[in-house]
Structures are given as C-alpha cells and as structure tokens.
C-alpha cells in the first residue's frame, strides 16, 4: 500500500484520501482561507504601520496613538509562544481559538474601522496565522491521511499557493484588497454604504473558516509521536530566512502585475493573465508531476529566477516585454521554492517534528519579512528621510532574491541528505 502511494502523483493521492476521508475538502479549506486572510492582513498591516512610523518620527498631533500601532510589532513574536500555549491549553484549543481570532479579525477589517483598529486586527491575524501554520503543519505531518510524508506536505503547499491564486483573482476583479472596491455605480451619497459590500462575501468566508475548523478537528489528531535519535535537527534559521525572503519578494513585487508592468514599461493588462497562469502552472506541477525533487533542475530554475530579478531590476525598461514575461513566469519558481522550504522544514524533522522549532521558524520568517519590507519601503519612498537608503530599493530586492535562492538550494541539499539517510 505504502509503495503504491509513493508512485502516485499528488492528485491521485488526494483521490485516494478523499475515499477514506469525506471531509478532506473541508480540511483543505481551513489553511486555504487562513492563508488568504494572512495575505490580505499583511497588505493591510504595512500601510498602517508605515503611516504610524512617520507620525511618531515627526511627532505629529496624536502621535501617541501611532505609538500603539508600532507596539503591534510585538505581535510578530506571538508565534514563539505556540509551544507554551499548546502545553498549557492543548493544541486543539489553541488551533481553534487562533482560527476564530483570524476569522473575526478579518471580518473586523472589512468593517472599515479606524486605522489603528485595522492595523491591530491585521497584526492579530499575522500573529495567529503563525500559530496556525505551526500547528497545522505539525498535525498534517503526523496525521493518518493515506499519503506518504512528502505528499502530505505537498497538500499543504497546494493550499498555501492556492490562497495566493485566490488573492490574485480577487485583486484582478477589485484591483485591490477586496472586491468592495469595484464601484461601477459609485454614487457620492451612497458611498459610505457601498464600502461595506465586501461583507456579503467576508461574513460567509469567516463563518466557513470557523465551521470547517471545528468540523475537521478530528482529522488532525496526531499519531503517537516517536522521536528519532539519529535525525539531527538542522538549523531552522535557514528556512526562516528563506521563508522571510519568499514573503518579502512576493509581497513587494511578484504579486503585483502592475508593479512588474511599471518597472518594465509594459501593460499590466497583459502581465496579469500571465501571472495568474504562472500560479496555476505551479499548482498543476505540484498536482500532476511525479518527480519534483531533482536538485539540478531546481538549480536551473533558481538561476533563471535570479536572472529574471537582475534583468527586471536593472534592464527592465530596455527590454520591456521579454523581461516582464520572464519575471512574471518566475513567480512559479518562487512558489516552487516556497514548497521546498515548507517541505524541508516539515520532513527533515520527522518523526518528532517539534512545535517550538516550527514556531521559531515562522516567527523569524515573519520578522525577516517585515524588516526587508521596511528597508525596501524606506529606500523607495520618502527617501530623503533616510538618505543612506536612497536608491537602494533594487539592491535590497536583489539581496532578497539571492538569499531566497541560496536558502532554497541549501534546503534542497538538506532534503536530499535526509532522503539518503532514510534510505540507508
């Protein structure tokens, strides 16, 4: 049975699992929605924090309120306490409460509350997504799905990337965070009511997340844990840097067809379908390809990614569409790298995957994300405030790209080493 599963692609594994677990779809919807809300939350959080920083630096009227927003940076450290919370209250309780907070906070954002409230809610989503990410990944690896270890983690990668696809669709339709911004019949008098349109979508999504989380809680009941003595814990910082750089590049450039178009003097109407196509391509690759783990192919992919970033940053306008298309297609490599990082962080520690390692990893990944994002933001806007950063934007993106490629390749080497040890 086990050998048969190994020969199957992910789609076939999912088919098989669906036969034994009728609630598998609901099970997949939970991390899908949680990741989607996280993506939207981060995009809400940065503008709030950015404005608050200026108020505090220039001590504008009411700057103490902005100080409160800056304090939300503490929330990035919340996932560090996952292990402690799980020991005290139990994994399942923490998991369900985290998802409930994510669902409610995302709903709160849709209510167009004050900037301070929106930023705090977004910060809460980021913090509790870190906890959910940790527990979900651990439980997924240790659950009784009829799938081998790699397939299980691939399922997570699938929903993780799927959330970015949904985000891309929402942004295509709404050109922004959510579809409420589509205002075909915008009327100045009705404006304050029309801005709440997204609630029609958001309320069911939040309810769905909570209901499915409760319904599928039994599916992620772990088997008894066995700690393998021979498997040393590899340095998690490698994956944390990789994950941070992945998020940094995705959130600051790769997710925005309009940004790619602006750098390359091309049309975002052309780039957007290519971007969507690239995300679909990687999802299909994960679903239907039987061999994903050839290190030479991965190295070639990553060299292409690096080439795309360099060409995009330094030759963008000179070659316009060829570079814009290369850069956009490279989104698929970005997601493949994310898959390798998630695979590495989950499997090379199996059996006995440790919550504190995963939570450290996601915490530091998020910290790298916020640090790099603000280095980039302050080098590309209001650059006169920090003259040392002036014009450094492309360099910071390039460093992010190099680090991601390096960390992914190291993660792949670790994976191969782990496979070799396991076979031996």
């Amino acid at each position: 049975m086990g050998e048969d599963i190994k020969k199957k692609n992910l789609f076939e594994v999912l088919q098989l699992s669906l036969k034994t677990r009728s609630d598998l779809i609901a099970y997949l919807v939970v991390p899908l929605l949680a990741t989607l809300f996280f993506i939207e939350a981060f995009r809400t959080y940065v503008p709030g924090l950015y404005i608050a920083m200026f108020h505090v630096v220039f001590q504008d009227p009411g700057w103490t309120g902005s100080l409160l927003i800056l304090l939300t940076l503490i929330l990035f450290f919340v996932p560090l306490f996952t292990n402690l919370l799980c020991k005290k209250f139990g994994q399942m309780k923490i998991y369900l409460v985290s998802l409930l907070i994510i669902a409610l906070a995302r709903l709160g954002i849709a209510f167009h509350l004050s900037s301070i409230m929106k930023t705090i809610l977004a910060g809460l989503i980021i913090a509790f997504y870190g906890i959910c990410f940790t527990i979900f990944l651990k439980r997924l690896v240790e659950n009784d799905l009829k799938a081998d270890l790699k397939a299980k983690v691939s399922i997570f990668s699938l929903v993780f990337i799927g959330a970015f696809l949904i985000d891309s669709v929402v942004r295509t339709i709404g050109f922004s965070l959510d579809i409420s911004l589509v205002t075909a019949h915008l009327n100045p008098e009705l404006w304050s009511s029309l801005q709440y349109l997204w609630l029609i979508v958001q309320i069911p999504l939040s309810v769905l997340l909570v209901l499915f989380a409760v319904r599928t809680r039994t599916l992620i009941t772990p088997q008894e844990q066995k700690v393998a003595e021979d498997l040393q814990n590899e340095p998690w910082i490698l994956n944390a840097v990789g994950l941070g750089m992945f998020f940094f590049l995705i959130f600051n450039v790769f997710l925005y067809p309009n940004a790619i178009a602006e750098y390359t003097n091309t049309s975002s109407a052309v780039i957007n379908p290519i971007l969507t196509g690239a995300i679909i391509l990687i999802l299909m690759y994960l679903l239907f390809a039987k061999t994903l783990y050839n290190i030479r192919i991965n190295l070639c992919f990553n060299l292409i990614l690096l080439l795309a970033i360099v060409a995009f940053l330094f030759l963008g306008t000179a070659f316009a569409y060829p570079i814009a298309i290369l850069m956009t297609i490279s989104v698929a490599i970005m997601f493949l790298n994310a898959h390798f990082l998630i695979m590495n962080m989950s499997t090379t520690r199996k059996p006995g995957i440790q919550i504190n390692q995963l939570s450290n990893l996601i915490t530091y990944g998020l910290l790298f994300l916020i640090i790099m994002s603000f280095l980039h933001d302050f080098s590309t806007d209001h650059a006169f405030t920090i003259s040392a950063f002036q014009g450094m934007g492309p360099l910071i993106l390039f460093i992010g790209g190099c680090l991601l490629v390096l960390m992914t390749m190291l993660a792949h080497l670790q994976l191969n080493k782990f496979e070799a040890r396991r076979s031996a």
Binding site: F11, E12, Q15, R43, V46, P47, G48, Y50, A52, H55, S66, H112, S114, S115, I116, K118, L165, I166, S168, V169, R171, T172, F175, S176, S180, L181, T183, L186, N187, P188, W191, L194, F251, N252, Y256, N258, A259, I260, E262, S268, A269, V270, N272, P273, L275, T276, G277, I279, I280, L283, M284, L287, S373, D377, T380, D381, H382, A383, G391, G393
Partner: protein
C-alpha cells in the same frame, strides 16, 4: 473514467482564474465622452491625494473617488499617486480611480520605484503626453504635458505638476516649467500642488504668464487647500489651477464639503483639499 472526470474538472476549476484575468484584461475602461460642442465648457480639478490616505490615516480610494465625484470634473490632475507599493496595498491608484470614474488616464512616477507620481485623468481623449523629471536637489518631482482633444479642431494643453519643498527646488522647477509651457502655443491649463503660497516670487512669476483662476473668479483670496482638516481653517493655499486663452471662468473654488450635513475628518480622503475650476472656451 471517474478519475478522468475529476481530473478534467479540477483542471477546469484551476483555469477559471485565468479566464477571469483574461476577461478583465480585455475589458477597457468605459469612458463617457462629454459633448464639448454643446456647452464649450470644461471642468478641471486638481487633487493631491496623499497616497489615498486621509487625515484619519485611513487608506481609502473609494473616499478619494467620492471626493472627486462631488464635483464630477472632466479633466483631473492628481498628485502623490502610487503604483504597486505595499505601503498602499500594491494598488495601481491611477488605474483604479480612472476605472471608478470612467476616464482615460496616464500615470508618471517621479521616482524609479513608482512613488510620488502624478496622474492625468480625462473624459476627453488624450492624444499626446510628454513627461519630464524636474530639476531637483531633493526628492524627485515630475511635470506632465498632455494634449487633450476637446473636439475635432480644439486641442487643449494640460500641464500637471507637484513641486518640491525647498525654495532652491521650486525656483529652478518653476523656471523649467515655464520654459516648457511658454514654448507651447494655444490654450493652456496648468494645475497641481505647487507647495508655494500665492505671494511667493515663484507663483508671481507663474502669474505673469497664467491666470490664477481661483483668484480671478473670486476677486479675493479663495481659501486654503492644506491641510484638509481640522476645520474651520486649513492653513495654506498651495494647490492651484492656472489657465490661459479661455473665454470666461464660470466657477472656481476649493472643495470643502465632501458629504453634505457632515463635518468630520472622515469626509476627507487626503490631507489636501481639491480645487476645481470650470472654464468656457
């Protein structure tokens, strides 16, 4: 057979986003063209949108659009417009506002990475655009020159800018701008955030070649434009609409009432107030 069906179904499901993005790419902005020949009037509006962030720190493009719709202008000059930056949720602001208002648009960023741009939105066809980086010793600024076709024979030159903050910057920038505008023949409208009070030598210099429409229409100080809040008096007048070769100024004012019956910070989409002028040609 069942597996094949499920596979096909899944592939179709995955392809739906692609179809959506292709369809959306194919849908052009629906522009409702005004009939210039009927009235020979054009309504202009200049608005520094502060990256879509109001005095309540909320990033809200809907509110910006609502603020603009209070006047429903034909040609708009926007300043502090961003594109694809996470600090403004990655939105292409000019495109988004243009879509919401049903207008043609052109965006030009001042800095390589898309910050601090100006945008032109127009219900009339934009037939030519020239963009310039202004001379600067500080933050990069830009200047747009657009030729807008009002009817088969009437071409209007529209200039949009957002000047720097220091005197050294603005003096050189005004000289550069006037060298470009003076080289153009025909009716001209220049609007934007000049970061200068109307008694400064730089604005006096502009007034040698252009009419300050708000002053000319009101015969008095037309009111401040920055900051938009707190009430009752904003504080500075730094946003202008200048014009030449028109027949009459039918209206010109600072837009202060965004939602009737409301007097609160949340009305205002930006830290600036918009200025509007209606000209007869």
């Amino acid at each position: 057979m069942m597996a094949l069906n499920r596979r096909t179904l899944l592939i179709i499901l995955l392809l739906i986003p692609l179809v959506i993005s292709i369809v959306y790419a194919a849908i052009p902005i629906q522009v409702t063209r005004p009939t210039f020949n009927a009235t020979h009037q054009v309504k202009f509006l200049t608005y520094n949108i502060h990256f879509g962030v109001g005095m309540d720190d909320k990033l809200d493009l809907e509110r910006i659009v609502q603020n603009i719709l209070v006047e429903d202008p034909d040609i708009i000059g926007l300043q502090e417009v961003e594109n694809g930056r996470i600090t403004s949720q990655g939105v292409d602001m000019a495109q988004w506002i243009a879509r919401a208002l049903g207008m043609d648009y052109y965006y030009y960023p001042a800095v390589n990475e898309h910050a601090f741009g100006v945008a032109l939105l127009s219900r009339y066809p934009i037939i030519n655009i020239t963009a310039y980086q202004l001379p600067t010793i500080q933050l990069e600024r830009v200047f747009l020159h657009a030729a807008i076709q009002l009817n088969a024979t009437y071409i209007l030159n529209v200039f949009i800018t957002h000047l720097g903050l220091e005197d050294d910057n603005t003096t050189a920038q005004i000289e550069f701008i006037l060298s470009k505008t003076n080289a153009v023949i025909g009716p001209k409208v220049m609007m934007g955030d000049f970061n200068l009070h109307n008694d400064t030598p730089q604005i006096q210099n502009v007034s040698l070649f252009f009419t300050d429409t708000a002053v000319a229409f009101n015969n008095t100080y037309p009111g401040d434009t920055f900051p938009s809040w707190p009430e009752p008096t904003p504080g500075e007048r730094i946003d202008y609409i200048f014009a030449t070769n028109y027949t009459a100024i039918l209206d010109s004012h600072v837009v202060t009432d965004m939602v009737s019956g409301v007097n609160a910070a949340w009305e205002y989409g930006s830290d600036h107030l918009p200025v509007t002028t209606t000209l007869q040609y």
